[in-house]
């Protein structure tokens, strides 16, 4: 075996050293960073040019405050699993770009952005009309971590106030019911404009090897929340059935997306 020249020895030694430096730094960088708490500190110092339209808790009137961020009461009595954490600990998804508000209305977030950027959502485009309201399911996505459903609530005639789901059911073809999820609905811009909403639901657990989910999504009732006066409950149901690919890999932890102005208390 030929002996390495002094120059080759130096180069190899330097390369070894660089590798050790890289490995050392990578190891020491492996700690979690919690974004939510620190975002609140930073946001308090910043002046934003425009706030996204959001449903404010103050508009809830006499509707239960829980519908805004917490889990919704399910029509069937079952254990209430509680709300999905909307702003979980940030994890290292460094270097991943974000899509804009393309597929989930005005809502953005790490995972929503990834789904939009990689076009992983399925266009559903189903509309159901009942009780003077049309609900359209626009897009949906399902993986081992979440189910997202982007939809719109449109009154057939001009009607002021916020429109939000009051209760719903979501099941798959295997009979599993999804755990209690979270809705976010952007405030309507006019009496004839739709409310744009996203359901962030816990995942389903289909049999191993399942590549698609056929979901039954029933919006059982809505709340119409005027700026003044009592909330009105509008009974449905609006029934949807659609199939989406099931991604066995969880694209990201949880499903955090932007909180309404004023922040979540999570």
């Amino acid at each position: 075996m030929r002996s390495p020249t002094p120059s080759e020895t130096d180069d190899r030694s330097l390369a070894d050293n660089e590798a050790l430096v890289r490995a050392t730094l990578a190891e020491r960088a492996g700690f979690d960073v919690e974004c939510e708490r620190d975002w609140r500190l930073v946001a308090s110092r910043l002046r934003f040019e425009e706030a996204p339209a959001r449903v404010a808790a103050s508009q809830a009137g006499k509707a239960p405050a829980a519908w805004m961020r917490g889990a919704l009461h399910r029509a069937r009595p079952r254990s209430w699993l509680g709300a999905v954490m909307l702003a979980a600990t940030c994890v290292a998804l460094m270097g991943v770009g974000f899509a804009t508000f393309e597929w989930a209305g005005p809502f953005v977030g790490q995972k929503l952005g990834l789904i939009g950027e990689q076009r992983l959502y399925t266009t559903i485009n189903q509309s159901r009309d009942d009780a003077g309201v049309t609900i359209t399911v626009d897009k949906a996505y399902a993986d081992a971590g979440n189910v997202y459903i982007a939809f719109r609530i449109q009154p057939d005639q001009a009607a002021s106030g916020t429109l939000v789901p009051a209760s719903y059911e979501l099941t798959d073809q295997y009979g599993e019911e999804a755990g209690a999820g979270d809705f976010q609905c952007a405030a309507r811009t006019s009496a004839t404009a739709p409310a744009i909403c996203v359901l962030d639901s816990p995942p389903f657990h289909p049999p191993a090897g399942a590549t698609s989910l056929t979901l039954t999504f029933d919006v059982l009732a809505l709340y119409r929340v005027p700026s003044n006066g009592d909330s009105q409950r509008i009974a449905g149901p609006w029934h949807f059935e659609f199939t989406v690919p099931f991604h066995a890999k969880n694209l990201g932890p949880g499903g955090p997306y932007a909180q309404p102005a004023g922040g979540a208390s999570r």
Binding site: M1, P4, T9, D10, D11, R12, S13, L14, A15, D16, N17, E18, A19, L20, V21, R22, A23, T24, L25, A26, E27, R28, A29, F31, D32, V33, C35, D38, W39, L41, V42, A43, L46, R47, F48, E49, E50, A51, P52, C90, V91, A92, L93, M94, G95, V96, G97, F98, A99, T100, F101, F107, V108, G109, Q110, G113, E117, P256, A258, Q259
Partner: protein, 200 residues
């Protein structure tokens, strides 16, 4: 931190809260880790990262090209970290020895080194101790080069020094790290040749 999607940067530049928050979520963990690796306690690293993000937001209209956001933010973050480090000066500044030679070919994506698999925790601990003994600017340069994977030119831009000075800074820091490692932990080629001879 690789390139951030331009559309997100544009939303942030418009002062949009949702876009700003999304950008924060994308880069804040990285910025905290940069500060920590550069020698700051985690709480100080968080404060640095928050300051850098705030400063960047206040100057967001100065960024002409959304695609250049990553390097532009690195400059602000680096400045913030250096400020904190010099203020603290809690580590003994080790004088640098004479510069060693830089390998000419800086491969950004170097092929896996055979020794990487064999690096054990003790060597990494010792390397960490030696990295923390470097002067603040040298430590930051090493972090930018070997954690953030910036090129020498980009390290120079982040530190606001010439590329030649950046090469010298990195070269000297690496030489110091190599020399200060515990002698019996560094495999030498004499040792490897001896082992080879024994195997044969």
């Amino acid at each position: 931190m690789r390139e951030i999607d331009s559309a997100l940067v544009n939303a942030w530049q418009r002062g949009d809260e949702s876009g700003t928050r999304a950008l924060f979520n994308a880069i804040y963990p990285y910025a905290v880790r940069m500060g920590s690796l550069s020698g700051l306690p985690v709480d100080d690293a968080r404060e640095c990262a928050q300051d850098a993000f705030t400063r960047a937001y206040e100057r967001r209209t100065q960024l002409r090209d959304a695609q250049a956001f990553a390097l532009w933010f690195h400059r602000i973050l680096t400045h913030s970290i250096l400020d904190q480090l010099t203020r603290r000066q809690r580590l003994r500044v080790a004088p640098l020895d004479d510069a060693g030679e830089l390998v000419e070919d800086w491969q950004r994506n170097a092929p896996a080194q055979p020794d990487e698999a064999a690096l054990d925790a003790e060597r990494r601990d010792e390397m960490w101790r030696q990295v923390q003994r470097l002067a603040p600017r040298a430590r930051l340069a090493i972090t930018l080069r070997y954690y953030s994977d910036l090129s020498t030119r980009e390290v120079a831009e982040a530190l606001r020094i010439s590329e030649g000075n950046a090469r010298t800074l990195l070269s000297r820091a690496l030489a110091q790290l190599r020399q200060r490692q515990a002698p019996d932990m560094s495999p030498t080629h004499e040792h490897l040749r001896e082992v080879d001879h024994i195997i044969r």
